[in-house]
């Protein structure tokens, strides 16, 4: 007996594994069935009734199709062999309009003041399946409108359509049992458990999955209308999980970061710390030009002069062997490729290691957090940023060598070396002070920049393209969202030029070649914004405004 079934949906044949729900089978043939309570990352509930379709099962004995006993919800119904599904009959359309009508009678028409407007499933399905005037002439049911669930989430009972996505999340995904639906009938509301402060790391996911504006984030309330936002694929740098994200920005500012679906990494979720990470972007102290503190070089040399000088410092180390290089776990794989090539191939260096830029954060848990609070240690190491086999020195040994005066040129990527939380900052400064030439390539200035002979400004994670490799070896690609800080250079290009300045050649010509060399299929991990449940932008009105395809 095969474990696949073949059925027809709106006349299109599709074969799916047994146990697939009809709503998912429909997606395979491009039929989008409207819904609210269904979410691919949560157990099915079937309470909104929006996904009702005409489902007919094949009865082998009678040799014909029979309609379901009661109209079937496609989120719950298993696809069966020879099943026939019709999603666009007049009856089904009437069903959807009816469900919309019932949902809207007590729903406050808050759109002008509701954050969800523009990415609201209720709005979208109203436009797609209803569009009728309200017939209600009664007082609407009133419920609490401004209930704080912890410090980050606000609940509006009147907007709530009681789809139970949020309660299912806290029961089955975060398993923290924070939320439940209390009371009966149309008095029902979502409530925070009396013994919960809703302060764990995954609270904000409930606001993402809320189909309406019932759950909103304090961080985003009244900040920006969503149709002003641009959406760029991103990856969270908060830890080595590398949750895929969508970076929403407007006019050179990141407004919010939300998860992007990636089944093998973060499914549909991300943590609060990751969401808040973008706030540190504005805190960084940056420079818009190389800074030099050395004789023979202007304090603000141009890039050409700076690179030339750096090359002059680096080239001799091929013979001298007194070069130490410290990579950063925030480098992209592409940057790490060139960095490694520069240090080990061009300059024959052996003293090479990766530091920890960030040491503190949420502890590892069963959901997403790992113990490594930096995004790309794995990728950087995989690219070869490891101590040389013959005569290599790892990071502690490098620092000792610095203190002992054995290092002539120290090449460091990124901030964080001096203010490493588990090291004595004063001792670090002293050790590093004995190094004659420190070249720091960084997007943010720190204590090391005071000591450095040359600081080359690089771009931060929101300003460049690249890939990271996560704790399980999955690659994720992020794209440039913000216009780069004036004067900064892209790391990949900058390192390639440094290779040349140091007397060698870059390992690859283009960015794409870099990924090929890293044995990453350039398109393997690309997920378009708009894929999966969470990236509901595809169906949202804002997508329509920006000319995106919609099949509502």
């Amino acid at each position: 007996m095969s474990d696949q079934v073949t059925l027809t949906i709106d006349g299109k044949e599709v074969t799916v594994p047994k146990g697939t729900k009809v709503i998912d089978a429909a997606k395979e043939v491009g039929v989008e069935i409207p819904h609210f309570c269904y979410h691919p990352g949560l157990p099915v509930d079937g309470n909104c009734r929006m996904c009702i379709a005409d489902v007919r099962t094949w009865n082998a004995r009678a040799e014909k199709h029979f309609p379901a006993r009661r109209p079937a919800v496609t989120c719950w119904t298993d696809a069966e062999e020879n099943m026939q599904v019709f999603t666009d009959t007049p009856e089904v359309k009437k069903s959807r309009a009816t469900v919309m009508e019932f949902l809207l009678i007590n729903h406050p028409i808050d759109c002008p003041i509701c954050d969800k407007a523009g990415e609201c499933m209720l709005q979208d399905h109203y436009m797609g399946h209803d569009r009728k005037r309200s017939e209600l002439r009664e007082e609407k049911v009133h419920k609490p409108r401004l209930v704080e669930f912890g410090e980050r989430i606000v609940y509006n009972g009147e907007r709530c359509i009681l789809c139970s996505r949020c309660t299912r999340f806290t029961t089955h995904v975060s398993k923290t049992f924070d939320l439940g639906i209390v009371n009966r009938g149309d008095r029902a509301i979502v409530e925070l458990a009396q013994d919960s402060d809703f302060d764990h790391a995954y609270t904000d996911n409930v606001a993402d999955i809320c189909p309406v504006g019932a759950l909103t984030k304090q961080d985003f309330r009244f900040k920006k209308r969503v149709w002003f936002l641009k959406h760029t694929d991103g990856v969270c740098g908060g830890c080595s999980r590398n949750c895929n994200t969508v970076v929403d920005h407007d006019r050179a500012e990141v407004i919010r970061v939300m998860p992007r679906r990636r089944d093998e990494i973060n499914e549909h979720w991300m943590c609060n710390e990751g969401r808040d990470l973008y706030k540190t972007l504005g805190e960084a102290v940056r420079t818009s030009a190389p800074i030099a503190k050395v004789e023979g070089l202007a304090t603000a040399p141009g890039w050409d002069a700076a690179l030339a000088w750096a090359g002059e410092q680096l080239a001799p180390q091929k013979k001298n062997g007194k070069l130490a290089a410290i990579a950063s776990p925030w480098m992209t794989n592409e940057e790490a490729l060139v960095f490694t090539h520069l240090v080990t191939k061009v300059l024959k260096g052996q003293w090479l290691d990766v530091k920890d830029d960030v040491v503190d954060g949420y502890p590892a848990d069963d959901l997403l957090h790992t113990d490594d609070h930096n995004p790309n240690r794995n990728g950087v190491i995989a690219a070869g940023c490891v101590p040389g086999k013959k005569d290599g020195k790892d990071l502690p040994a490098i620092l000792e060598a610095c203190a002992a005066g054995e290092v002539e040129v120290l090449l460091v990527w990124g901030p964080g070396l001096v203010n490493h939380y588990d090291r004595d900052a004063a001792a670090m400064v002293e050790a590093l002070s004995s190094v004659p030439v420190i070249i720091q390539i960084t997007d943010a200035l720190d204590e090391l920049s005071e000591l450095a002979a040359l600081v080359l400004p690089a771009r931060n994670w929101a300003e460049r393209n690249g890939t990271w490799t996560n704790v399980d070896g999955h690659h994720s690609r992020f794209k440039k969202a913000l216009r780069p800080h004036g004067g900064s250079r892209d790391g990949f290009e900058l390192l390639s030029e440094l290779c040349v300045a140091a007397g060698g050649k870059p390992p690859v010509k283009t960015f794409k070649d870099a990924r090929k060399k890293l044995k990453q299929d350039p398109d393997s991990d690309v997920r378009d914004v708009g894929d999966g449940e969470f990236s509901f932008f595809k169906n949202q009105s804002l997508y329509r405004h920006h000319g995106g395809a919609t099949e509502v």
Binding site: G46, N47, C48, R49, M50, I52, R69, R70, P71, V73, W76, S95, T98, V99, E101, F102, L103, I105, N106, E135, L136, R137, E138, E139, V141, I161, L162, I181, N183, R184, G185, D186, R187, A188
Partner: protein
């Protein structure tokens, strides 16, 4: 006595469940034994009168239909159990009895609890279960106490527990109380409640026979259905078919309420004419009160006029023929002078209060239609509101997880179909022609009391 023989006296030629003199101490074990109690269980468990599958076939052949309201053939439901059950089979007795107008299961549990226990043992034997829960609505405190005491009596005397009568068969019964929710009368709502959750029904399929309480295969049956199994096991399918019609076999308890002389619970053969039930058993309408309308099977079934009522026989076919349903057998008699709009308003308040809130059309719709009928009742409505009410009720039907929405929609539509002119009168006049009140049939305001006070036969729970 030969081992496959059993004793089961029938009273008045047809009383099988209420086969004792009402008003006497009929519930203790000793009293039940005098009525041949547990001889049927012995004949089956020890005498091997039936193999389990044979007992299922017997129940099927008897034509017993679920007595809770849905009327689904009991034996057929039992046969849905999978051949390879994924877990220990459970029997759950639905004693949640909350359908307005229905108070018959209460009588079985308070006056004749052992016939239910014996029915549980036999049913468990038939379906291959050793575990039975009797879920009794929380408000029925006397019934819970009686039932619990009866279960304890049965255990003490060896009619329950392990290896009953040395037969090797085990049956354990747990009495479990609800806590006040009509929706727990829906079989999957009951299952959810038994599991310790809100009584929010599950989507079917899977049916409880496949995936029920605690995920085990489960059969949920009404009290009266299981109690009837005892007689069926004693008298066989043909014995049960001695009464009733082709499609409605056996006897049924009807609970009659409203302005009749002797409201109460009466056991009559299926197919018994309503007019006889009204005039013989119930003594007719209260003096001076005419028969205006009838809700024949609990508040969820369509209403009929008094004229139609007098043509109805109490069985499934006759009710269907007259555009209503036999339902739970909660017979609500409505007298002349009753405002039908107010009656509907009372019913819709109930459905609104009881909606579990899980799915959209019922949660929002029950409140909506109640509010519209309230406006009609106080005269604050427009002519279009009647059709609007009808449209909304129609939209609620079938689109929900369970049938509570249908149960609210059917009376709404039928009241409008049958008594539309009363709705129109409220709107035209801008007020209730009956002064926003029900008639005082008992003259309570004038110091009157229910006549049943004086009638010793009906001094008890009717």
């Amino acid at each position: 006595m030969a081992s496959t023989e059993s004793t089961y006296p029938v009273l008045d030629g047809h009383k099988v469940l209420l086969n004792y003199e009402r008003g006497t101490t009929s519930w203790p074990l000793a009293s039940y034994l005098e009525r041949g109690g547990y001889t049927t269980a012995k004949s089956v468990l020890v005498g091997k009168k039936y193999a389990p599958k044979e007992l299922i076939e017997t129940v099927k052949a008897s034509g017993l239909r679920g007595r809770g309201g849905a009327g689904f053939p009991t034996g057929l439901k039992w046969s849905f159990l999978p051949r390879e059950p994924q877990g220990p089979i459970q029997l759950v007795v639905n004693a949640d009895e909350s359908e307005p107008g229905t108070f018959k299961d209460r009588v079985i549990m308070e006056e004749n609890p052992h016939v239910l226990i014996e029915g549980c043992v036999l049913s468990c034997y038939a379906i291959g279960s050793d575990s039975c829960y009797i879920y009794i609505r929380g408000e029925y405190v006397p019934a819970i106490k009686r039932m619990t005491a009866a279960v304890e009596e049965a255990y003490a005397a060896g009619h329950l527990g392990s290896d009953i009568y040395g037969s090797g068969f085990t049956c354990n019964i747990t009495v479990h109380s609800g806590a006040g929710a009509y929706i727990c009368g829906e079989e999957t709502g009951l299952i959810e409640s038994l599991e310790g959750k809100k009584g929010q029904p599950r989507i079917k399929p899977p049916f409880p026979a496949v995936y029920g309480v605690f995920g085990y295969p489960t059969i949920v049956n009404n009290v009266e259905s299981i109690a009837a199994v005892t007689y069926i096991a004693h008298a066989g399918a043909d014995g049960y078919r001695a009464w009733g019609t082709e499609k409605s076999a056996g006897t049924k308890l009807f609970s009659v309420s409203g302005p009749v002389k002797r409201p109460g619970v009466y056991e009559v053969p299926m197919g018994y004419p309503f007019k006889d039930l009204l005039n013989n058993e119930c003594g007719g309408m209260l003096d001076g009160v005419g028969l205006k309308a009838l809700i024949v099977g609990g508040s969820s079934v369509p209403v009929v006029t008094g004229e139609t009522a007098l043509k109805i026989n109490m069985d499934y076919e006759s009710c269907a023929e007259h555009k209503t349903l036999l339902g739970s057998g909660g017979v609500i008699v409505i007298g002349e002078g009753t405002c039908m709009v107010r009656a509907l308003m009372t019913l819709l308040r109930f459905y609104h209060h009881e909606s579990c809130g899980q799915c959209t059309p019922c949660r929002e719709g029950t409140g909506w239609i109640e509010r519209i009928v309230q406006r009609i009742e106080v005269g604050d409505a427009k002519p279009g509101d009647i059709d609007e009410l009808y449209r909304i009720a129609d939209n609620m039907e079938l689109r929900t997880i369970c049938t509570l929405a249908d149960a609210a929609a059917w009376p709404t539509k039928s009241f409008i179909d049958v008594f539309r002119e009363e709705f129109e009168a409220h709107i035209e006049k801008g007020c209730c022609p009956y002064d926003n009140q029900f008639p005082d049939h008992l003259n309570l305001r004038g110091g009157g009391k229910p006549q049943r006070h004086a009638d010793p036969e009906h001094a008890f729970i009717a």
